[in-house]
Amino acid sequence: MAVGDLALLVATIMGVYSLLAIGLNMHWGDTGLLNFAHAAFFAIGAYTSAILTTPPETGLLANRTVGASYPIFVGLLAGATLAAAAGVLIAVTSVRLEGDYLAMVTLSFAELIRLVIHNEGWLTSGAQSLKGIERPLEGSVPIRYDLFYFLLVLGVVAGSYLLFRRLAGSPFGRVLHAVREDEEVPLALGKDTTWFKLKSFGLGAAIAGLAGGLWAHYVYAITPNMFLPSLTFTIWAAVIIGGAGSYLGAIVGTAFIVGIRQVTRFVPSDVPFASDLPYIRLVVIGVLLIAVLYYRPYGLLGDEERMLAGSEEGAD
């Protein structure tokens, strides 16, 4: 049957989430910023691209009055740009906050964005789902469409991976690492650390926005509850499991998380407790995550040094 469809869907989800993880790894892995607004950047990218490429619906529940029919690549670009702008905006106002205070501000910013999307139906269709989102080049690719889309996402992931890894290894990246380890040191060397943090925030948010656009143009319809904080936490789990600081780790961690969410769907329904299986499935996922972190506390591909950064042990 359609095993291929499932494999391609899962692979595409892995690709899109990998982009999110790459962005978050720039924030957390490289710069040490506790960003909990990732779902919001994803949402901004998705909604911007969808609104720019999908004319308003008609009918009784069609509350959206804003919409255009620009080409999809314009939507994707605009989505990434706006997400970057949102990232810089939130960073400008709060990046000087330390650790957990920044986490709180970003988390509430993400919820604010989601509630605005939920309530401003004239712009986003609100709870009614922004529907009828076009897929790029549908009907004019010579191969299976799902395969085409997966290859497209894969290409973007590969490009972003190379770009971000290069950034991390460049002088720019080394300043970010220094900020992460101890912000006083690069400050003492005359680096404008706030400015570096803004750039880090903007870049990571841009890639999340691009991921949002790619996702919106794949799933036909988007609704505000696709962008709950649980999405942010999932990406956090992926980055931590993959190993913070490693871009390959971010991708592997994402593949692992999306993979176990999918594999647990194959547990047959006729086993004991099956009536409660859907809940048990989520428990199993949680236990697996705990198990991985127990055996690999610094993640699958992370390095020990990164984990110890800032601690007594690491200072030795």
Partner: protein
């Protein structure tokens, strides 16, 4: 931790991971040849996690009856159950998982995720029978692979609008929980009321998880409507009604399907609820029999969407029985003829199987609804308007299916 220890642990981890994927593969291989596998995709977690179990129990009852009576010369039906997590992305994964397992039909989920599944279901040519999506957005997309065993909100909305018109009320305030389903129902009420010459004074969304709805209620009171139409599930409704009584508002209040239960009156108190209005689909022709069997099997009364899920399972099984084969095409092509007239009226799979064996056509009469599909895969059925009198929901007026679908303005042709 030493390097050596790390390597060992890594190996152990790989073994564990290998074991986990072996479990997964075992699941793939276990769809035995002679079994017919159906999918059940429903919200078991997330925002609507409370209705998945109701649907599961309804399907479970029908499943045991179908397997007892024997489908297609005694082939066993099994259910592959997948969680939508009330989230479109998880719903898509669940859908594709079911598709990849070769299910012949899916008993389907709620309005929240249906828009994301319409196209995939059509692409996979896989019948998807929702047992809980009332949204107007599905009014004209079904009939081939998309079906539902609950009436569209446009039908229930008409019942409320028509009752208000019959009372001579000229102005109505709409208020609704700010979610997809409630917005849809409320829009349908307003649309029909206006088509009958009524006037809508305002639309007030109610944020979920609020601590108070007093300011919203004051806004509505200041609009000075003849009647208030309020659409929300139990939690929002209970707080709203509480605040409504505290503020001493005297305007008639019409509530929505979800709260038309004895439990809700008990929870709120008979005095508080006295005189409240509501409407609900009149129970289907087979409801009483269904409810007693359900009580016997699960030890509780049927919940929201239990009956429609029971019906969906029966209809799919009957469609296969009529076609004489278990395939997606067979189900898609036979659902309407087993659900809608003409034919001998049957209320269970066993009765239907018997009638089909005798060469009759059948007209399945469901637990939730008569289940007479129209050309777009929607069902209509009678709706009752009820009022709380002496602590009980008492029927005050019933609108027949034909009254609710006759032309004369209204919401049957809506949305894309």
């Amino acid at each position: 931790m030493s390097r050596n220890g790390t390597a060992l642990r890594r190996r152990r981890f790989l073994r564990l991971a290998g074991g986990a994927s072996a479990v997964g593969l075992a699941g793939v291989g276990s769809a035995r040849q002679n079994n017919i596998v159906l999918g059940h995709l429903a919200p078991f977690s997330g925002g609507l996690g409370w209705i998945g179990p109701n649907a599961r129990k309804g399907v479970g009852l029908a499943l045991s009856e179908v397997n007892e009576a024997g489908l297609l010369d005694g082939r066993q039906v099994t259910i592959n159950r997948q969680d939508t997590e009330t989230n479109p992305q998880a719903a898509l994964s669940g859908f594709q998982t079911l598709d990849s397992q070769g299910v012949v039909a899916i008993i389907g989920p709620s309005s929240t995720v249906m828009p994301n599944l319409v196209q995939p279901a059509q692409d996979a040519q896989l019948p998807l029978v929702s047992t809980m999506a009332g949204t107007l957005q599905l009014d004209d997309v079904g009939g081939e692979y998309i079906w539902r065993t609950v009436p569209s909100d446009s039908i229930g909305g008409r019942a409320q609008g028509a009752y208000a018109t019959d009372q001579g009320w000229e102005t109505m305030a709409l208020t609704f929980k700010n979610d997809k389903g409630s917005q849809s129902f409320s829009a349908a009420v307003g649309e029909f009321f206006q088509s009958q010459g009524g006037q809508i004074t305002g639309q007030t969304p109610l944020a979920p998880n609020a601590d108070s709805y007093r300011s919203e209620i004051n806004t509505i009171r200041n609009q000075n409507p003849d009647v208030i139409s309020m659409t929300a599930a139990t939690e929002v409704t209970s707080l709203f009604v509480q605040n409504f009584r505290e503020l001493g508002v005297e305007i008639p209040l019409m509530l929505s399907n979800d709260v038309i239960t004895p439990d809700f009156i008990e929870q709120m108190g008979a005095d508080t609820m006295d005189g409240m209005l509501g409407q609900a689909p009149a129970p289907g022709p087979a409801f009483d029999n269904f409810a007693s069997k359900y009580q016997e099997m699960h030890g509780e009364q049927p919940g929201t969407f239990s009956g429609s899920s029971y019906d969906a399972m029966n209809l799919i099984a009957l469609a296969m029985e009529r076609a004489g084969e278990a395939s997606r095409q067979a189900i898609a092509q036979n659902l309407r003829s087993v659900g809608a007239p003409p034919g001998q009226k049957v209320t269970t799979f066993a009765e239907g199987k018997q009638a089909l064996a005798n060469g009759s056509e059948i007209d399945y009469q469901g637990a939730a609804n008569p289940q007479n599909f129209d050309e777009n895969g929607n069902v209509v059925g009678p709706f009752s308007v009820v009022r709380v009198e002496n602590g009980e929901w008492t029927e005050v007026e019933t609108f027949s299916a034909s009254e609710l679908t006759q032309d004369g303005g209204g919401a049957t042709t809506t949305t894309s």
